[in-house]
């Protein structure tokens, strides 16, 4: 059974600082996703990582994937208040070709303070 663990679950940062959110998963998968969710809102797709060593960057966020270690990271550079949200990683279960069956981590609630 695929399990996805995120840490930390809560993160309070000061503006301008850097930090990393970690996402570990328990079995082989070839797709990993990062999403952002603002309070009361739906999920916004941030990154899709499809291969070992994949690195994607958008603004102050950078995501990477190490399929051998079954680890993805979401790095935040010089945080700003607008990044405050809950961030989820999700891994494609891929059972029986059922693509899109995503197993989600519990989420990291990020709060960026001035």
């Amino acid at each position: 059974e695929l399990k996805v663990e995120q840490n930390p679950l809560f993160l309070s940062m000061q503006e301008g600082k850097n930090y990393t959110i970690y996402c570990n998963y328990s079995t082989t998968s070839d797709r990993l996703y990062w999403y952002r969710q603002d309070p009361g809102k739906s999920l916004e797709s941030l990154f899709v990582l499809l291969s070992n060593g994949a690195v994607k960057q958008e603004g102050r966020l950078m995501a990477s994937l190490d399929t051998k270690a079954r680890l993805s990271t979401l790095h935040i550079t010089a945080a700003v208040h607008d990044l405050s949200a809950t961030y989820f990683c999700a891994v494609d279960n891929g059972l029986g070709g059922s693509q899109g069956n995503l197993i989600f981590g519990k989420g990291t609630k990020l709060s960026v303070k001035p």
């Binding site: 999920l43 899709v48 995503l102």
Partner: protein
């Protein structure tokens, strides 16, 4: 990128009644899914909505409680039947864009059962 419209956005329902949630995608998507997000929790997959056939349900979810339809490639409904307060959650539909691997989410339906 596909845009998914979901309605209603929220509803307050009485115990024992049923609610049907609709999800419309602005373009054809290869697969559609329904997720549940209980308060303060992560997302759990309810079922895969199969076009023209019965949905594929995940462990813990049954058709009698969550009947799903998908008559074509752009539309799906989820019914929450015989509701109880434990069904109070956010329900989200999602679709996979076959062209770029992303999984998009609708805006969600916040359901409260009294």
């Amino acid at each position: 990128s596909a845009v998914i419209s979901q309605k209603p956005s929220r509803d307050i329902c009485q115990r024992g009644t049923s609610l049907t949630i609709q999800c419309q995608v602005d373009s054809q998507v290869t697969m559609m899914f329904w997720y549940r997000q209980q308060p303060g929790q992560s997302l759990t997959l309810i079922a895969t909505a199969n076009q023209g056939s019965e949905a594929t349900y995940e462990s813990g979810f049954v058709i009698d409680k969550f009947p799903i339809s998908r008559p074509n490639l752009t539309f799906s409904t989820l019914t929450v039947s015989n509701m109880s307060p434990e069904d109070s959650s956010i329900y989200l539909c999602s679709g996979r864009d076959g062209f770029n691997e992303k999984l998009f989410f609708g805006s969600g339906t916040q359901l409260s059962v009294l």
